[in-house]
């Protein structure tokens, strides 16, 4: 039976990505770093002695640290993987040829995005065995791990889409890269800063809804609020809004991702 090929851009990108030795060495280095972190954490908690013990609450702390680390990794790697997806093709003079094929703009953009994200998801999956160490000591439920991973995937999708969008609308990879990192830094740090400023001002004016929105868009705060109901409760009490920040995060990041993708698809074949 003559079936139409499955997204060829995706398959080609995956082939090129996983053929590259650098991809595997970067995964290996990350896993080594994470392992060293966990070993150091255990040593620190047990006082560097064999007679030391590890409590479930400390297991949760390890889980929280790993979650923040993984989120940091996503914010660091997603722009690098996606911000050059289209602009590199343009710089290497392969884009024009690709655009004259019968692939639609959506197929090309989604293929590029999925290939970049697939690599990041492979890294995340590769860390699962290390992550599962926390189960040995209790204090963390599997549903928490699943929820955090879903949050990671949403963040990867949103930031990856932003990267692809800048890669499409800017001519140079370096410009696209800087802009995407700018967006990542904004969400990682500035949302938290704006939250603090908003809380200080809001306590006087009583307007805390804006602060709530800022903290709900901060990936670290939301990830921690997913694994710790206390943090979610703290945010609610501070901002006087009872809705979990996770929902704002899901809606906000889904919207950012979809809007960025739509812009990228529309602008890919801008023929002026």
């Amino acid at each position: 039976m003559n079936q139409k090929p499955f997204n060829p851009v995706l398959l080609k990108e995956l082939k090129l990505r996983f053929r590259n030795a650098k991809s595997f060495s970067s995964i290996a280095f990350y896993l080594i770093a994470l392992t060293l972190f966990i070993v150091a954490f255990f040593n620190l908690m047990t006082g560097y002695t064999a007679s030391g013990f590890f409590q479930p609450s400390e297991s949760f702390l390890l889980f929280a640290c790993l979650t923040v680390l993984q989120m940091g990794l996503i914010l660091f790697i997603a722009p690098a993987l996606t911000a050059g997806a289209i602009s590199t093709e343009r710089e290497k003079q392969t884009l024009n040829i690709l655009l004259t094929t019968t692939q639609t703009s959506a197929q090309i953009i989604i293929g590029k995005l999925m290939a970049s994200l697939a690599f990041l998801i492979v890294i995340l999956l590769a860390t699962l065995p290390l992550y599962s160490i926390v189960f040995l000591f209790g204090g963390v439920s599997p549903s928490m791990v699943v929820a955090v991973f879903l949050l990671f995937i949403l963040t990867v999708f949103a930031l990856g889409s932003v990267g692809i969008m800048f890669s499409t609308i800017t001519k140079k990879t370096i410009v696209s890269m800087i802009t995407t990192y700018g967006v990542a830094i904004f969400f990682a740090f500035f949302t938290f800063l704006f939250f603090l400023v908003g809380v200080v001002n809001g306590l006087e004016s009583g307007l805390l809804a804006i602060s709530y929105v800022w903290i709900s868009l901060n990936p670290f705060a939301v990830a921690l609020s997913v694994i710790s109901p206390d943090i979610a409760l703290g945010i609610s009490e501070t901002t006087k809004i009872e809705l979990s920040p996770v929902w704002i995060y899901v809606i906000g990041y889904s919207g950012i991702g979809l809007l960025s993708l739509a812009i990228a698809i529309k602008k890919l074949r801008a023929t002026h």
Binding site: N2, Q3, K4, P5, P8, V9, L11, K12, K15, L16, R19, N20, K92, Q93, T94, N96, I97, L98, L99, T100, T101, T102, Q103, T104, R269, T271, H272
Partner: protein, 315 residues
């Protein structure tokens, strides 16, 4: 059939294409001739659906590049003047990717790859990484890529640019083979004699305007009115020079080393024969009477010079 309809493309104040109208019949090998910046690549980019025209349109077998770009893409194979390749793919994988990008089923792609690698003389490079191929080989591989989905129309923008003489000859031979496949081919090249060998028709572009188009032989014949004639003589070449100065010839030049005179003669074959007879009757001992045919480069130079003269008069 390809119909350029009043095609205009402006970049700010610059008119890259100025109301280009042209019809290219199915199966024709059409050469675009023009200096750098004449508008060849712009016309090709619009035809390849990479650029939008400011006004006008191109119809490819009745489908508009503006209204139906997806349908047009399925009918064309485009080779730009500058292009990159995916270095980490093997030659076979490179062609397979583009075949898939045109929606070809896997089984069909494998057979097509075998045929095309044979056509471009790269069968033995099938499993070699594209990065390891020479410039000429990459150019031929790119040509094979344009043929993967068996398009009716090939758009080849300077396919021999940057190639050494041997690679040029190989590319020209492949293009001659393509001529036999019945494809409509649009080609541009700076090496005009190459175009003359391959093309059925040419269009001369100058500053975005089509200033001449048609069958190469017809255009050459139209311009044969002005011929370069070299007459070699025995004895004093100055006597011959004086004689021809009194005839209806222009731009006479003497070559003492070859004992010859060269001039531009505007006349038909009968007048040419009469001129030779008159020279012999005048006692000039003619050892050679050579008429130089105009090649495509001469045609291009004559046409563009005439346009320049006309424009300077208008100004």
């Amino acid at each position: 059939m390809i119909e350029f309809q009043q095609l205009t493309k402006n970049y700010g104040q610059l008119k890259a294409l100025n109301e280009l109208s042209l019809t290219i019949k199915k199966g024709t090998i059409f050469g675009f001739v023009g200096a750098n910046g004449a508008g060849k690549s712009t016309a090709f980019s619009i035809l390849a659906t990479l650029l939008s025209p400011t006004s006008g349109d191109i119809l490819v077998n009745g489908k508009s590049v503006v209204q139906n770009p997806h349908e047009v893409r399925a009918q064309i194979g485009y080779m730009p003047d500058f292009f990159g390749v995916y270095d980490q793919l093997k030659a076979e994988e490179y062609l397979d990717f583009y075949g898939a990008a045109y929606g070809m089923p896997a089984k069909l792609r494998q057979q097509k790859i075998t045929d095309l690698l044979a056509l471009v003389r790269l069968t033995d490079k099938r499993d070699q990484y594209v990065d390891d191929l020479s410039r000429g080989m990459k150019q031929r591989l790119c040509l094979a890529r344009t043929l993967m989905h068996d398009p009716d129309i090939l758009i080849l923008d300077e396919p021999a640019s940057g190639l050494d003489p041997r690679a040029r000859v190989e590319m020209r031979d492949i293009l001659k083979d393509l001529k036999g496949l019945g494809k409509t081919i649009l080609i541009s090249s700076h090496i005009l004699p190459e175009l003359a060998e391959i093309c059925d028709e040419i269009g001369v572009l100058d500053s975005g305007k089509l200033i001449a188009s048609g069958n190469i032989l017809e255009i050459q014949a139209q311009l044969q009115g002005d011929k370069f004639i070299t007459v070699k003589v025995l004895g004093d070449v100055n006597v011959a020079q004086q004689f021809f100065l009194q005839q209806q010839v222009e731009h006479i030049e003497k070559n003492d080393f070859e004992n010859s005179v060269t001039f531009v003669f505007n006349g038909d074959d009968v007048m040419q024969a009469n001129l030779l007879k008159a020279a012999i009757d005048a006692g000039i001992q003619v050892t050679a009477f050579e008429v130089e045919d105009k090649n495509l480069e001469d045609v291009f130079m004559v046409i563009t010079e005439e346009v320049a003269k006309h424009e300077s008069k208008t100004v």
